[in-house]
């Protein structure tokens, strides 16, 4: 509706008025100026209405997301504290960052954590979803129970895992004792990061299970019946039908899970406080420490944030490209 007015307001050639005459005889009476004025007023009102709807949300979006995103770049070139005042140091922070032992450990730990937690969570979720989609009764109860850990705040989850991993009375060691195996020190240098990964699998497997479950029950039934009639067994149906059909969903899950995994903060803070040593110090945990440190390393905090920000933006870009590809076909 609006666009028609816009074309009418733009009679670039005499041909334009001809077409308008045939299409809307009523409007012939208007002169060119009147046309433009009316269309302009209408356009302005339309813009104003649209921004009236969008504006309030967009304001918060700009102040608390766009400006801080740009701000990360600015702060990454500062040195000093947030309150005490800072000075411009150019790219200095990026030069000192690789020498910071904890920063290097934080990046390595975060990547290792992502690698240890995401594949098991997604594979388990897909398998559980497949089973869940085929079970005829009681599906709602299972879905409920599987999803329950998703609703536990990270801080509380970490608190619960403090009990589970306790050396003397924790659930894990109690189970080992019942089976007849020796006690383990779960939060040792070598074990702490895998335990954090396990915690994350526990918390997230339900989320992705429901995600895949919805995808699986949305698949076209006829294809599977046809494949079964052709003698394809369950494994081959999974390999050659389910997996290819779910590919977009799986890619989506991998990217989103990675973006989330790279932000891990609350569970290492509560469960291990980044330790022992730097064994479970993650990027955001280190950002938080730099930002709060008395020595005013706010620039370092921003510099290491920027690295993570770039990674997340790149992953988002890949994600959008994949989605657009799916929409195009």
């Amino acid at each position: 509706m609006g666009s028609k007015v816009a074309t009418a307001s733009n009679p670039s050639a005499s041909l334009g008025s001809e077409t308008i005459v045939s299409a809307r005889p009523r409007r012939v009476a208007l002169s060119k100026e009147e046309h433009r004025r009316l269309a302009h007023g209408r356009n302005a009102r339309r813009e104003l209405t649209a921004w009236g709807f969008l504006g309030p949300m967009f304001l918060f979006f700009c102040v608390f997301l766009v400006i801080p995103t740009v701000g990360v770049v600015w702060w990454s070139m500062q040195s000093g504290g947030m309150v005490t005042g800072s000075t411009f140091v150019g790219l200095n922070n990026f030069i000192t960052l690789p020498d910071e032992v904890t920063a290097g450990a934080a990046i390595a730990n975060t990547l290792t954590f992502a690698l240890m937690s995401i594949p098991p969570a997604l594979i388990l979720a897909l398998l559980i979803a497949m089973v869940l989609a085929r079970v005829k009764h009681g599906g709602a109860v299972y879905r409920f129970l599987v999803y329950l850990p998703v609703l536990v705040p990270g801080v509380v989850a970490a608190l619960i895992w403090i009990f589970l991993t306790n050396i003397d009375f924790g659930l894990f060691n109690t189970v080992l004792q019942v089976v007849g195996l020796p006690h383990q020190v779960w939060l040792s240098v070598g074990n702490a990061l895998p335990v954090l990964a396990a915690l994350d699998v526990w918390r997230n497997v339900g989320y992705w299970t429901i995600f895949f479950y919805a995808a699986v029950i949305g698949l076209p039934e006829e294809l599977f019946q046809a494949a079964a009639l052709d003698g394809a067994n369950a494994l081959r149906r999974f390999r050659h039908l389910t997996l290819p059909l779910l590919r977009p969903m799986i890619m989506f899950a991998i990217i989103i899970a990675t973006i989330w995994g790279l932000q891990i903060f609350d569970t290492p803070l509560i469960l291990t406080d980044g330790g022992p040593g730097t064994a479970t110090t993650t990027v955001i945990l280190q950002v938080w420490r730099y930002a709060l440190s008395a020595s005013g390393q706010v620039g370092l905090a921003a510099a290491i944030s920027l690295a993570l920000l770039v990674a997340i933006l790149a992953l988002t870009a890949v994600q959008l490209r994949l989605l657009r590809g799916r929409g195009g076909t």
Binding site: R46, A50, T69, L151, V155, Q263, F265, A291
Partner: protein, 297 residues
């Protein structure tokens, strides 16, 4: 070529019958097997809950008993008493519920209005806004800690409810959700209203919003849960005890030093109560939360 086809055709009824018989047995086995797997999964995932609940009902002495007491009889309620009367817990919970409700209410209107603009209205800069929101969709608060803190300080909202409520409003996920829902609504009513000369706001308020209710409930669940669980921004932006939200308060129990397993486990259990109640009431919408990501594209 015709001969083998004919032969095969003759075999079909028999083959189908035997396959069906085999199929029925297989199907039943598959069901049993499936339930076994799911029961195992459910037990593994729920065991920590069971464990923390029983721990919260023990006094610190009986915690170290061997063999372990699976069910403390009689249950010891001292931990809960201490949590409710001797810690900041009620205040933390009230803060969390207040902040999460405020963010949810504001965001439902802001996001549905912005979603309406992106779905139904034409305006200059639409593509830029859309692209910017998509691009920053996944940027978490954790990455923005330093600049966000500095912005909040300049606005003078650090350590206030405003400081907890306003920054989460920036998240654009809800806008895309709402846009997607609005694009899926039938257009007849809206077109009729437009012909009758109803204003855009009238169309939004009286036609779109009522139709959007199922979508709004999903959005509310998504936002409320995220707020309930949010930790890093409240941790950084608040300093006074009175402003602590649940997650920050629970974390402070741990940070204060000293070990009080009874109190911690009671805190863990009580923290899960409200969200568990919501989950019971709105199970469908909660599960749709998993799909919120898939809906936008």
């Amino acid at each position: 070529m015709s001969a083998p086809t004919a032969a095969r055709r003759r075999d079909i009824p028999q083959a189908v019958a035997s396959r069906r018989r085999r199929g029925e047995l297989n199907a039943r086995l598959e069901q049993v097997f499936g339930h076994l797997i799911l029961i195992l999964v459910a037990i593994t995932l729920s065991a920590p809950f069971f464990y923390v609940i029983t721990t919260s009902l023990k006094d610190s002495g009986s915690l170290f008993h061997y063999p372990p007491q699976w069910l403390p009889i009689p249950p010891y309620l001292g931990n809960y008493q201490k949590l409710i009367f001797d810690s900041g817990f009620p205040r933390w919970m009230a803060n969390t519920l207040f902040v999460a409700s405020a963010v949810t209410t504001l965001k439902i209107f802001l996001d549905s209005m912005a979603g309406y603009a992106l779905a139904k209205l034409e305006f200059r800069g639409k593509r830029v806004v859309f692209g910017l929101m998509l691009g920053l969709l996944m940027v978490p608060i954790g990455v923005l800690l330093v600049p966000l803190w500095s912005v909040a300080r300049q606005l003078g909202i650090l350590d206030t409810y405003w400081g907890l409520i306003l920054p989460p409003l920036a998240n654009p996920l809800g806008v895309f959700l709402m846009r997607q829902f609005i694009l899926g609504l039938p257009k007849d009513l809206e077109n009729a209203a437009r012909l009758d000369g109803v204003s855009e706001f009238g169309i939004y308020w009286r036609i779109i919003l009522p139709l959007l209710k199922p979508g709004l409930v999903v959005l509310a669940v998504v936002i409320f849960t995220d707020q309930y669980m949010s930790f890093i921004w409240p941790l950084v932006s608040t300093t006074s005890n009175d402003m602590q939200v649940l997650t920050v308060g629970v974390a402070s129990l741990r940070a204060k030093g000293g070990v009080d397993f009874g109190l911690w486990s009671a805190a863990a259990v009580m923290s899960m109560v409200p969200i568990a109640i919501f989950f019971f009431a709105l199970q469908r919408q909660f599960l749709a939360r998993s799909l919120a990501g898939a809906l936008k594209q």
